[in-house]
Amino acid sequence: MSSDHHKGIAPHQCGQCCTHIDGISVTLDRHRIIEDVSLHLHCGELTTVVGPNGAGKSTLLRALLGEVSHTGAIHFHPVFGPGREDAPAIGYVPQGLDFDRSSPFSVCDLFAASTSRFPVALGSRGGIRQTARAALENVEAGELLDRGLGRLSGGELQRVLLALSLTPVPNLLLLDEPVSGIDLPGRELFYRTVSELRHRFDLSILMVSHDLAGIATVSDRIVFLDRRVVCVGSPREVLANLDFRHAFGLDLEDLKPA
């Protein structure tokens, strides 16, 4: 994995790669889940989507992934990197990966199965191991390479999935509730890692989260979604928004961003 994802341009200076989400609506079983959501995501920026349960946050991510049918359009304007205009390379970290924990696959198997065609049944070739180890070291998880996937803690699993979603480096990274069920040190490590990677690879990141305390410090922008976009702005602006405070029953001093 190279850190010169945008060759010759220092981090923070690209600012041109952009994902335009234009008027996305999703209807499931005649139920309008999200309505006319429009957002612009810039590279090197972490945008967090917050909202009450049933606000359509995960549905928005699934629409971006192409898993649910939607109206409206997603345009991607690549300046650099692997994606095409109609098909950005999307990295995805699912919410609490649901898998059979008794299954005998290792972290290395997961990487090999995802990034190579050489059958894992016959083992992993050296090159794949090296790629996987390098990707894991980016998220401070190099020592997990040969660990069983079912034996990882919640925080370790999220970091492994983060490393996987960055192999190869995508144009747009989607994180669905990445820290739910993870203890505080694990959360801090995850945020620190994401924050650093955002600058290093000049990534556009869209994260869904409930963890208000954590996102206030890590996000560049916050989107308050309740079926439609209620407000968008810096953490300071959104946390001060009265609708937002009402929806989350907030009167907490310690949520003010530093």
Binding site: S103, F105, D109, A112, A113, P119, L122, S165
Partner: protein, 281 residues
């Protein structure tokens, strides 16, 4: 092929003098690794019950073949099993109904329809060998067919192993990595159908799924990664296949069922090994 079979006759054992035993041994050595490899994916993808339904669908397939007056019901068998397998996938995908309920319903349906079709005129006994199977009846010609199945399905499985494995871990994750989940699942169902139907007449509907599931289930108790998993599954399938066949010769029992019992023994053994290992840690 026949040269290989004949050379087995030089082995210094009583059973090696019989051609049917030599044929059966070769068949077991050929298909056990394929069953094991496929089983590792079936178990990982939580499709153990699914492959059982495919086996049971074969009964209806045979019934339909007989009804249509086909000399060899193989085509009807493959066709119906494939239809049922894809039908289950589609219902699951469209309704998100609980998978085990859909499978259980389809099993009841195909068993009942199969028995109704085959019992017309009171002739069901003519077909009962499909239930239990007869390994010793396998001919060199059929072994040739098995060889072709092993090469085609085995090659296909290895080619798609990573993709099927990833879908088994998590579908959304697989989709986000650009996999066409639906078509890969259909191909996997097709390969299960081919393996089950090609081996039905000598293993039998009642136990064919055990041969698929048991080696993988036992290997899971020992393995720490996928390569070990497949290695142990293949080894256990081979040892219990050959061992079961020889036991059935000396004990004069049905060979398919004996192989399953030996594999079951291995399963319990691996459980003990796993428990001991955990105690040591």
């Amino acid at each position: 092929m026949s040269h290989m079979i004949d050379s087995l006759a030089n082995l210094p054992f009583e059973w090696a003098r019989y051609e049917f035993m030599r044929n059966a041994l070769l068949a077991v050595i050929l298909v056990s690794p394929l069953f094991a490899l496929m089983g590792t994916l079936v178990v990982n993808n939580r499709m153990a019950f699914f492959s059982d339904a495919i086996g049971h669908a074969s009964l209806t397939g045979i019934g339909l073949g007989v009804l249509l007056g086909l000399a060899d019901p193989l085509f009807a068998l493959v066709g119906f099993a494939l239809l049922l397998g894809i039908g289950i996938l589609a219902i699951y995908r469209l309704t998100r109904a609980s998978m085990d309920t859909v499978i259980s319903l389809s099993m009841s349906f195909s068993i009942a329809l199969g028995v109704v079709l085959l019992s017309r005129g009171g002739n069901f006994n003519r077909y009962s060998h499909y239930l239990i199977g007869d390994l010793l009846s396998i001919t060199p010609h059929e072994i040739g067919w098995l060889c072709a199945t092993v090469v085609i399905v085995g090659g296909g499985l290895l080619l798609f192993y990573n993709r099927i494995l990833l879908i088994g871990i998590n579908e959304s994750l697989a989709r986000s990595r650009g996999l066409n989940v639906w078509w890969i699942q259909v191909l996997f169902v097709l390969s299960i159908v081919m393996v089950v139907t090609m081996n039905l007449s000598w293993v039998g509907i009642l136990i064919i799924n055990s041969l698929l599931i048991l080696p993988a289930a036992a290997a899971r108790n020992l393995a720490g990664n996928t390569r070990q998993y497949v290695f142990f599954a293949v080894a256990i399938a081979l040892i219990s296949g050959v061992g079961g066949l020889l036991v059935s010769y000396y004990a004069d029992t049905a060979s398919g069922a004996t192989i399953v019992l030996v594999a079951m023994g291995f399963y319990f053994l691996t459980l003990v090994v796993k428990a001991l290992r955990q105690r040591v840690q």
